[in-house]
Amino acid sequence: MKKKRMLLILGLLALLTLAAAPFIGITPVSLDDVLHPSGGSTGAVVFWHIRVPRALTAFLAGSGLALGGMAFQALFRNPLATPFTLGVSGGAAFGAALYMRLGLAFALLGIPGGTWAAFAGAALVIGLVYALTRARGGFATPTLLLAGVALSFFLSSMILALQYSASLHDSFRLVRWLMGGLGMVGYDAVLNLLPLVVTGAIILLMLTNELNLLSVGEDLAASRGLDVPRTKKLLFFAVSFMVGGIVAVCGPIGFVGMMAPHICRLLAGSDHRNLFPATLLFGGMFLTACDVVARVLFAPAEIPVGVITAMIGGPFFLYLLLRRDTGRLFQ
């Protein structure tokens, strides 16, 4: 019952954050502006055409990244293993950067080409990670994490090479995007993200019992009747789908996927039936709040939200790494 109340409080806080975020910023917004969206006032335009879609995008991206992190943490039984730390975001970023650099512009099934390119990059890295978990009985998670670091370095050097060879204008655009920003989003970003995050979230929601079993170990999970290889493939697919789409729109925003589910484990416990809604709400709320901070901290200048999450996430990563019982939570 304590956990149910915790979820209720999280839900209310998330709603509050989402509702408050569009009111905060250097352009003041009056209640009159809000009530007359097509009134033509600056406040109305800023509120309805800039800040509302931006807050929605931040919430969706935050939820999706946090859920992706939650799935990977359970899968690898380590709070440091997330799509970002294993190089999946880097893969998606490389795919999207390549698309931008090549000056491609197409859409397929209503999904923009940049998103497809990011999927492909994310899927490639996930495939590699999956192969590493299968090769010769699988590598230990620390090895995978180190491989993720190496892969991330490799991919960022590839992105740097792309950027170096690009024009000044393209190069600037790439850099801004790579820092992870929500600066240029409108309702089309919301509409791009919505189906991806909703699909990914529904798949994960249907797999909460499976995630619980995976987080106690693969042999034990299999002995309880879980089809481990099939479940892993489904999880990898759902996560690369979701993370790829988010990276294509917002750039690689790091550490949300690590912090949000870990904090939620402390709040709501490790049972994924509670952890799933907690992580969804907290992740969305967290990134929305980070984006507000990114907008107002050095106003009128705006820093990319990825810089804020990394500034919080870096120390958090170290804290998890150095904490004596991190391994005890998952092993």
Binding site: R224, G225, S270, L329, Q331
Partner: protein, 263 residues
């Protein structure tokens, strides 16, 4: 004629090209028990994992109640065979109750929820394994012996016909060893469950089980009733070290202990 719980014929398992289990055959009737003994690295754990299809066999047949284990789907297999690995350091962030309820997974439909029946079976299993009082505790706050009993409770919640224990009493103090042995024996008598247990304790194998399977370098070194192990030279041949035998004057039971190696 009854169908054997396990019927294993010419089972071979190789990992990375190295033979771990070699030409193992045995049959065990429902409701009986079998100890798997042998030196370190003899392939005992590999055999158990293969019986649960956690590892693939290279060749040979494993039939569980008359049906090839390869033809069971995972959930059906989990409803017939329960696995109790060494609980060791595995510290999962779940409460005892959550962990035991999770073992009801093979009875869930796809994407459905645990029912009141699942909850009741989980409660029963915890009561049986004498861990009901620990229900709300986190697994990693338990002692090794308590955690091992929780693992047994979870396997019980699967309502299996066969229970496979892999060194479930290793590294436990005497009280917990005895508790776990008595628990498995009680279950066997009350539910007619078949028990297969890997153990390093020869005296357990001699006194508590109907059959003993001794492995050496992956092959069967002995298969039969426990007293057959007492034949001169047999244990020496399995373990490559001398043994001494002691008869309990009260019960007549024979106990073994390792003797001194000749200089």
């Amino acid at each position: 004629m009854t169908v054997a719980a396990y019927a294993v014929e010419h089972l071979n398992v190789a990992l990375d090209g190295r033979k771990i289990v070699e030409d193992v055959s045995f049959t065990i009737e429902p409701g009986t028990s079998m100890a798997v003994i042998g030196p370190n690295g003899a392939g005992k754990s590999t055999l158990v994992k293969c019986l649960l299809r956690l590892l693939p066999a290279t060749s040979g047949r494993v039939r569980l109640f008359g049906k090839e284990i390869a033809r069971y789907n995972r959930r059906a297999l989990a409803r017939v065979a329960g696995y109790v690995p060494q609980a060791g350091e595995g510290n999962m962030p779940f409460t005892v109750e959550e962990f035991v309820l999770m073992a009801r997974y093979p009875y869930l439909g796809a994407f459905s929820h645990f029912t009141d029946t699942d909850r009741r079976v989980a409660q029963d299993a915890m009561a049986h394994a004498d861990v009901a009082s620990l229900a709300k505790r986190m697994l990693y706050t338990l002692s090794g012996g308590e955690r091992q009993k929780v693992y047994i409770a979870a396997a019980l919640a699967q309502r299996p016909l066969v229970m496979l224990l892999d060194e479930a009493t290793a590294f436990l103090d005497y009280r917990h060893q005895v508790e776990i042995l008595e628990l498995t024996e009680k279950l066997r008598h009350e539910t007619g469950m078949t028990v297969i247990a890997v153990t390093h304790d020869l005296n357990q194998g001699l006194t508590r089980y109907d059959h003993v399977l001794a492995l050496k370098e992956g092959a069967v070194a002995y298969w039969g009733p426990p007293r057959g192990l007492l034949e001169a030279g047999r244990l020496e041949q399995i373990y490559d070290t001398p043994f001494r035998f002691h008869e309990d004057p009260g019960t007549g039971a024979v106990y073994v202990m390792p003797g001194e190696r000749q200089p």
